[in-house]
């Protein structure tokens, strides 16, 4: 009956396959050599230092951070009322609204980027950063709606009715009773949206212009030009950042429930 031995082998291989590559890039980024290699040639922090010194990484990191934070906030501002309407009201065209709002998740990102570039940015002369912001907001919106809707569906609507009968307005009931109870869901939606936007490549591919690049696009460009380990160092730093966020999110709101 016991399948212990093979199970341990299987899980060992799974972890090696999923997590192994990170060990490799972390090691490669600590190399003293001039080219990307594993096992690393000697030990040094020069490539990590180079990441911080590289002006282009710093500005693209700032842009990606800005986009991830504000696109997700904008998506939440749009998404929370929409989720609330779909969860609490018997609404006309509910299915149509749901489909439109969640369509960015279905259509491949590269098409979104191209369509926006050709038919929104080019004809209306919209600034590239604004275009990226709009695109990322649309992209993050479905994730926000999905996670917030799930939290709302878990909260009984009679709790709001109770607040109203105790004298609260509809809006007051939302802020006093609904929002505090879906707080973890909103935080999870923010983290998921942030990560989705921050790591996004295909949507940003066409929209990034010279001098205005998100971090992943910048990394892709850098990889094509040079073969030194600084992208490995940057990847390791980003991986540690993600692990940190994941750890905190899991600890405080049980993040993996919401993924």
């Amino acid at each position: 009956m016991t399948m212990r031995q093979p199970a341990i082998v299987v899980l060992g291989l799974l972890v090696a396959f999923l997590v192994g590559p990170f060990v490799v890039i972390v090691a490669a980024s600590l190399s003293a050599g001039d080219t990307l290699a594993f096992p690393p040639q000697g030990f040094s922090l020069r490539w990590v230092a180079k990441v911080f010194a590289e002006q282009s990484f710093r500005s693209s990191f700032a842009l990606s951070m800005f986009l991830a934070v504000f696109a997700t906030l904008a998506a939440l501002v749009l998404g929370i009322p929409a989720s609330y309407a779909m969860s609490r009201y018997s609404m006309p065209f509910a299915e149509a609204v749901r489909t439109v709002v969640s369509s960015p998740i279905i259509v491949p990102g590269i098409i979104v980027g191209l369509a926006l570039l050709r038919y929104l940015v080019a004809p209306f002369g919209i600034n590239v950063v604004v275009a990226l912001f709009l695109a990322h907001t649309a992209l993050v919106l479905p994730y926000c709606v999905r996670v917030v809707s799930a939290s709302l569906d878990n909260l009984r609507s009679d709790v709001e009715e109770a607040a109203i009968l105790l004298g609260s307005s509809r809006l007051g009931a939302f802020f006093r009773v609904v929002l505090p109870n879906i707080r973890n869901g909103v935080l999870a939606a923010f983290i998921l949206g942030f990560v989705t936007s921050f790591d996004q490549v295909p949507v940003s591919l066409f929209l990034s212009g010279p001098g205005v690049q998100t971090l992943p696009i910048d990394m892709l460009g850098y990889m094509e030009r040079t073969y030194d380990p600084s992208v490995a160092a940057l990847s390791s730093l980003l991986a540690f950042l993600s692990i940190g966020i994941m750890f905190v999110a899991e600890r405080f709101i049980g993040f993996s429930r919401y993924v």
Binding site: S90, E161, A162, I164, L165, L166, S168, V177, P180, N181
Partner: protein, 342 residues
Amino acid sequence: MSDSAYLSLEQLKLAYGKTVAVDRLDLAIKQGELIALLGPSGCGKTTTMRAIAGLLAPVSGHIHLDSRDITRVAANKRSVGLVFQSYALFPHLAVFENVAFGLRLKGMRGKELEDRVQSGLKTVGLSSFASRKPGELSGGQQQRVALARSMVMEPKVLLLDEPLSNLDARLRLEMRAELQRVQKETGVTMIFVTHDQAEALALADRIVVMLNGTIEQIGAPEEIYNRPNSAFVADFVGFENVFRVRAGELDTETGRFALGGAIPREAQGLAWRPSMVELGGGPFEGSVRGMSFAGGTRQYLLDTPLGPIKVEASAHLPTHALGATVRFDLPVSIAAPLQRFG
């Protein structure tokens, strides 16, 4: 409506979308009354309650409370309290803050707030639970918090949705007494919704029996229990042998049968509780299909020319074996005459 009515519903029509749930409902309730809305699920009792609370806008008709038309008054301005079936406590707030919620919205602060909340909690015997979160309370305790939360608002009418249905048998008796006590002490007008006739009979001053969105009968518990006016109400309160009457005879699927006495002229039907059927003699004959012992009594199910008849007889009387043929009587004098049938 009558002058003494404190809460009155006039020609109320309620619907969810195109589905009409309640139609042409008239009801007048006096101040301080304890009313039960009784009926099976889907009869419109909860819908009626939600309309009184203002959570559902009527299609047509009027609601008056304390000589004011509140039909179009928003739910948060009605002074109507509602204890939800699920209690609907605010999960993120401690018991104290749950009870203080409405008072704070009224602008009450400091010592006055503290005193009101504490006295509300004391009334329901939960003074020492003020700092607990709802999730840490039992179902019965949660319900009492919900009751206190509504009562501290001093509502003109307190509505309770199936207040006892989520409690176990022992707590149910306790809570029943609690509700009666609170109502006596405060004199609040109370309406509770239930599908359990025993609960309605035990608690209410008057019972409103509802079926398919209309009122079947309104009356005191004794009246409902002893003089049901329709086949539905009769069956609902335990008259298990119900017959249609036509031209002074019982009209069954298998034929017409004359009875030993004169049937009241206006009766559309007659109903007998199993205990009202007299076993061991009479004009009818049936064979015993089922028999079960229930402590002080025996319950029989008879196959008869009138159809199946349920009988309850004292356990001291001789037993009738399965398959045995027995004679029985349906005495007209004690039967409940029904003004409506079907």
